[in-house]
Amino acid sequence: MKTSDLLARGLGAGALAGLAGGLISGAALSRVGALPPTASLVRADAAVAGFVVHVLIAVALGAGFGLLVWYQRSGAGETLFWGLTYGALWWFLGPLTLMSLLLLGFLAWDVHSAQEALPSLIGYLLYGGVTGLALALLRRDRGETAPGSLWGVVGRGALVGLVAAWLLGILLDAQGQLHAFSTVMVGPARSAAWIATLLIGVAAGAGYALLYPRPPEGTGPGLVRGTVYGFFWWIIGPLTVLPLASAGKLAWSLEAARAGFPALPAFLLFGAALAVGYQWLDGLVRVLFSDLVAAVDREGLGTEGLRAIGRGALAGLVGGTLFTLVMIQIGALGAFARLIGSASSLAGLVVQVVIADLIGVSYGLLFRRQSYDVGSALGWGLSYGFFWWILGPLTLQPLFLGTAPRWTAEVAAGLFPSLIGHLAFGAGLGVVFHLLEARHNPWWVPRSRMEAARVTRRKEQVLTSAPALWTLVVAIALVLPIILGM
C-alpha cells in the first residue's frame, strides 16, 4: 500500500474516532456549561451550535490524531495513552492559546485563566482517552490478537484489581480515609465505601487486562503505565462517572476537582499496584501453564542482578545528590531527620541519601535494560521520580512520622519544591544508570539473532506509548498542583 493511502486511512479512522471522542466529551462539557466559549468561536450562542462546533473540531483533531499515531503500535493500551497526551497537549494549544487568541486577542497563559479552563482540561483528557480507545477499535485488524482465552485475561485483571483495591482500601481505612477512593459517592456508611472501592478495583483491573492482555515490558515500565492508567481512572471515576451516577452532575469545576484531589494519589498508587500485580501474575501464569517453552526466552531474575543493583546504587547516589541540593535550598532536610527521630540536618542528609540509594537500587532492578538512549533514560527516570513523590512525601513519610497522609490539593501544592526535587532526582538517576549500562554492557548491541529480535522489540518503545507516558506524567505533575493548589 502506498504511503498516501496509508495516511488517508489514518485520517479517516482518526476522524471517526475523533467523532466518538467529540460526542462524549461534548455531551459532558455541555453539562458543565463549558461549551459556550467553543460556540462563540463562530459567534453563536446557542448550545446546539456550540455542541456542533465542538464535534466538528473534535473530528478535525481526531483526523490529526489518526495521522499522528498511524505508525505507532496499534493496541488499545498504546493509543489510549497517546490520546490522553494528545488531549493534554491540545488543552495547552486550544483553550489557552489558539481559542483565546482568536476570541479575545490575547493568550490566556496565566493561572487564573488556566483555573477557569480546568473543566476543559478534563474534557480534553476525556476526549483524548475516548478517541484513543475508539481508534484502537477501528484499527483492530492491525493489532495483535491476544493469545489465550479472553475470560482468563479479564478474570486475572479483575482479580488483581480487586486485590490492589483491597490493599489500598486497608491502608486508607486505617487512616479513616476510605472515601478518598470514591470521594464523590460519599455516603456515611463505611460498607458502601468499601463496596464502591472494590467495584472500582474490579472494573479497573478488568479494563487494564483488556488493554494489555500480554504486558510487553518489564516491571518498571509497567509501574509507570499503571500510574498513568490510575490517573485516567481518576478522571473517569471520581470526576465523571461517580458524581454523574450519584448526583447527576460532573465534578469538573475547580472546587469539585479540588475536593476530588485526595482520590488522585489513591488512584495513582492503585494503578501502579494493579499494573505491577497484573504483570507478575501474567508472568507467573506464563511460567506455570505456557507450553511455548522456546518463546519464554528468559535469563532468570537473578542473572546480572548484582550488577543492576550496583549500578542502581551508584546512580541513586548521583540522583540523590541532585535531590539533596534541592532539599538544602528549600531547607527540607529536617523532615528526613524526623523520620529517625532526630532533629539535626546531618541526620536528615544521611537518611535522605540512604533513601535515595535504596530507590536507586530499585530503579536498577526494575528498569535495567529498558532505556536505550539518554532520551528514554530521562523519560523512565522522571516518571519513576514522580511515582516516588506520590509514594514518598505524600504517603509513606507522613505514615512513618505517625500522621495520616493528607492528600489534599493544598498539601500537594505545598510539596511542590519536593516534586521538583524528585523530578531532578529521577532524571539524574535515569541518565546515570543508562550511562553506566552503556559503558559496560550496552544491551542494545545484540550478539545473536534471537537477542536482536528482543532488542528490536525493546527499542521500538518509541512506537509504543512510552514517550506519551513520560510526557503526560511530567505535565500532570507540574500543572495540577499549580492549578489546584493556588
Binding site: 542473572t303 535550598q329 521538583i420 532524571a427
Partner: protein, 612 residues
C-alpha cells in the same frame, strides 16, 4: 562526530530557532518578558537575542538527546514537550533566578508566577519536536544516502585470543569485554579445555563432599557472555604468523585462530618430578574431575573397609596420605579427616581410631607461605585432631599398596594425594621465548612476554617480576592471576589504541587457609587471625570471590545444609569401585600431560596452588 549526529544537531538547532521564535513572539504578544528575568539584565532587544540563542542551543541539545527515528513523529513531538517542560524547570525556575543572584525558584508561588512560561515551553517543545522531525525528513528526502550509516563490520577487524579458562584468562576476557563494550570491531576468543572457571580454593571441600561439584565452577560462556568461547585443546602457537592451532577433540581436524594479541593464561599442571609410581597412582587436585574422583575413592574405601576381614588390608584402606604441606595439601588432609569422621556413623564395623591421616612434607614446617606462629597453630590444631605429620620427609615413590617415603620408609595405603609440585603448562615449552628453570615464560612488568611480539601472559604460567618486592617473582596465587588478567586486558586495550602501558603492581592482601571443622588461619596485611573467627573470614571472603550470584547462593545453601545434615556418601561413579588397584591407577588427563616434564630433584622449589 558521526554524520547522523551532526545532522541531528544542526536540525535540532534549526528546530530550536523555529520554536524559539514562536515562543518569543507569544511571550512578547502578552507583554511578558520571556527570557524570564534575563531580559531584566539588559534591554529588551538583548533579551530577545539571548532568548533566541538559548533556544538554538536547547534545540541542538534536543537533537543530540532524542535523535531522529523514522516514523516516530508522535514520539518526537511528545518528547519535545517533555524536553520543553524540563527546560521550564531548568530555565525560569532555576537558572534565571540563580543568574539574578536569588535562590532557585522552586516554591509554588514562583512556579505559579512562571505558569505563562510553562505554557510557552510546552508550545516551544511541541513546535521544536515537530520541526525537527520535518527538517530531518526533508533532508533525508533531498539527499538520500547523504549520511551513510556506519554498518557494523561483517567480521571483526581485530582479534584477541586468550589461552586458558582459569582466573587469569577469564578475568582478562571480562575486563576486555568491559573495555570494549560490545565493540563489533574486536573479537575476543577464549580457548580452554574445560568450559568452566573452576574456583580452586573450594576444591578440597568438593573432594570432602562438603560442596556440590558444579557449585564451585561458573561456565565461561556465562561469565564472559560476549567472548567467543572455543572448547578445544591447543596444539601449538605460531608466533611468527600470529596463529593458534587448536583441536576440538583428538579426532577433529586442526583449526587455526589468527590473533592480533595473544594472552597466555594456561596455568600449571602437576609435576611428579619423575618419581616412580606417582603418575599412575597419585590423586591430584586440579580439576572438578580430580575432586569427585577422590571423593568417590574415599567413600568406596570406607564401603570396602566396612566389610573387610583382613586387619592389614583394612589399615591400608583407612590410611590417607597427602604429599605437600602447602595450602592445598593442608586443606585437603583436614577436609579428608572431616569427611571420614563425619560419615563414620554409617560404617558400624570401622572403629573411630582406625582411620589414619598422614601429611608428608619436605620442609621444616607446613604452610611456608604464612608466618611461623600461624603455621604452628595449624600444626598443633591438626595434630590434636589426629593427623600425623612427617616433616622434612619426601615422597620417594608409590606402589599399589604403599607410599615410599624418605630413605626407605613405607606407609601402607591405597590413597596418595599429590599436591607437592606444579609446573607451568607444557605447551609453553614450544614457544620461542625466554623461560625460567621451571618452564614458565618470562614476562616484564607490563606483562608482555619477553622476546615475543603481541604476546602477553598472566597467572601461574608466567614468571612476572613483583614490582613491590625487588628481584622476586609474583607468587602463583589466584588473587595475583586475577589482577594480572585485568592488567593484561588493560594493556591489550592500550596497545590496540596506541596508549601507554600499565605496570602490574599488586601487594598480596592476605592469605587464608581453612583447616576444616570450623577452624582456619588468616593473615591479612600482617594481622593474624586463627580459629573460628578466621574460619568465618575464610568463608566470607571466598564466598564473595566466587564468580556469579547464582553460585554464591548455591554454595551458601550448601554450607547451610551442611550445618544441619551429615555429609553425603552417595557414590556418583561406579568406575571408582571395582578394584582398588584400578582405582588407585586412575589419574587425570591433565596430570598425564604434566608428567612428561623433566625429572626435577626432590628438593626443587615446591610451588603450590594456593588460596587467593
Amino acid at each position: 562526530m558521526s554524520p547522523s549526529l551532526r545532522r541531528d544537531l544542526i536540525a535540532g538547532a534549526s528546530a530550536g530557532l523555529i520554536g524559539g521564535l514562536t515562543f518569543t513572539w507569544a511571550m512578547q504578544a502578552q507583554g511578558l518578558r520571556a527570557a524570564a528575568g534575563l531580559a531584566g539584565l539588559s534591554s529588551t532587544g538583548t533579551g530577545v537575542a539571548l532568548e533566541i540563542l538559548a533556544a538554538i542551543l536547547i534545540g541542538a541539545g534536543y537533537g543530540a538527546i532524542f535523535r531522529y527515528q523514522p516514523f516516530a513523529y508522535a514520539a518526537t513531538i511528545s518528547s519535545g514537550v517533555l524536553y520543553g517542560l524540563l527546560w521550564w524547570i531548568a530555565g525560569p525556575l532555576t537558572l534565571a533566578p540563580l543568574l539574578l543572584g536569588r535562590g532557585p525558584g522552586w516554591s509554588l508561588q514562583e512556579a505559579d508566577a512562571a505558569l505563562p512560561s510553562l505554557v510557552g515551553h510546552v508550545l516551544f517543545g511541541a513546535i521544536t519536536g515537530l520541526s525537527f522531525y520535518v527538517l530531518v525528513s526533508l533532508y533525508r528526502r533531498a539527499r538520500p544516502g547523504a549520511e551513510v550509516v556506519a554498518e557494523p563490520p561483517a567480521a571483526p577487524t581485530r582479534r584477541v585470543v586468550i589461552l586458558g579458562g582459569g582466573f587469569g584468562g577469564v578475568s582478562t576476557a571480562q575486563r576486555l569485554e568491559q573495555l570494549f563494550a560490545r565493540d563489533p570491531h574486536l573479537e575476543i576468543a577464549l580457548v580452554s579445555q574445560s568450559n568452566y572457571l573452576l574456583f580452586t580454593p573450594m576444591l578440597a571441600e568438593v573432594a570432602s563432599s562438603g560442596l556440590e561439584a558444579q557449585h564451585i565452577s561458573a561456565p565461561v560462556r556465562a561469565a564472559c557472555p560476549h567472548t567467543r568461547f572455543v572448547r578445544a585443546e591447543v596444539e601449538g602457537v605460531d608466533t611468527a604468523t600470529q596463529v593458534v592451532r587448536v583441536r576440538a577433540s583428538p579426532s577433529a581436524p586442526v583449526e587455526t585462530l589468527p590473533y592480533d594479541h595473544l594472552v597466555l593464561a594456561l596455568g600449571a599442571v602437576p609435576n611428579f618430578y619423575g618419581l616412580p609410581g606417582l603418575e599412575e597412582r597419585a590423586f591430584t587436585l586440579k580439576t572438578l574431575d580430580d575432586a569427585t574422583r577422590l571423593r568417590n575413592h574415599a567413600i568406596a574405601l570406607l564401603e570396602r573397609a566396612d566389610v573387610e576381614r583382613s586387619a592389614d588390608e583394612r589399615r591400608r584402606m583407612l590410611t590417607f596420605v597427602v604429599a605437600g604441606g602447602g595450602f592445598a595439601g593442608t586443606e585437603m588432609i583436614a577436609e579428608l579427616l572431616d569427611l571420614v569422621h563425619g560419615v563414620l556413623r554409617y560404617y558400624p564395623n570401622i572403629p573411630a581410631h582406625e582411620p589414619r591421616f598422614v601429611l608428608v612434607h619436605s620442609g621444616e614446617r607446613i604452610l611456608p607461605e604464612i608466618s611461623a606462629p600461624l603455621a604452628d597453630y595449624a600444626l598443633r590444631k591438626l595434630r590434636t585432631r589426629g593427623i600425623e605429620f612427617m616433616l622434612n620427609t619426601r615422597v620417594a615413590g608409590a606402589t599399589v599398596d604403599a607410599v615410599l617415603v624418605g630413605d626407605g620408609g613405607r606407609i601402607e595405603t591405597h590413597t596418595l594425594v599429590w599436591t607437592a609440585g606444579n609446573q607451568p603448562h607444557p605447551l609453553l615449552r614450544t614457544l620461542p621465548c625466554e623461560r625460567n628453570r621451571a618452564g614458565a615464560v618470562v614476562a616484564d612488568t607490563t606483562l608482555r612476554v619477553v622476546g615475543l611480539d603481541n604476546v602477553w601472559a598472566a597467572g601461574d604460567c608466567a614468571q612476572i617480576p613483583d614490582v613491590n618486592n625487588e628481584g622476586r617473582p609474583c607468587p602463583p596465587t589466584a588473587q595475583h592471576a586475577l589482577r594480572q588478567g585485568q592488567v593484561v586486558a588493560g594493556n591489550v586495550a592500550a596497545a590496540l589504541r596506541g596508549q601507554p602501558l600499565w605496570e602490574f603492581r599488586y601487594r598480596t592482601i592476605g592469605t587464608l587457609v581453612a583447616l576444616g571443622h570450623r577452624t582456619a588461619v588468616a593473615e591479612l596485611r600482617g594481622w593474624k587471625f586463627s580459629g573460628l573467627l578466621a574460619w568465618f573470614m575464610w568463608r566470607t571472603v571466598y564466598l564473595s570471590k566466587l564468580p556469579g550470584l547464582e553460585k554464591k547462593v548455591r554454595v551458601a545453601l550448601d554450607w547451610t545444609i551442611d550445618l544441619f545434615f551429615p555429609r553425603d556418601i552417595v557414590l556418583t561413579s561406579h568406575a571408582a569401585t571395582p578394584t582398588l588397584a584400578q582405582t588407585i591407577g586412575a589419574r587425570s588427563e591433565v596430570a598425564s600431560a604434566g608428567a612428561t616434564g623433566p625429572g626435577a630433584p626432590a628438593a626443587a622449589d615446591v610451588r603450590l596452588e594456593g588460596g587467593a
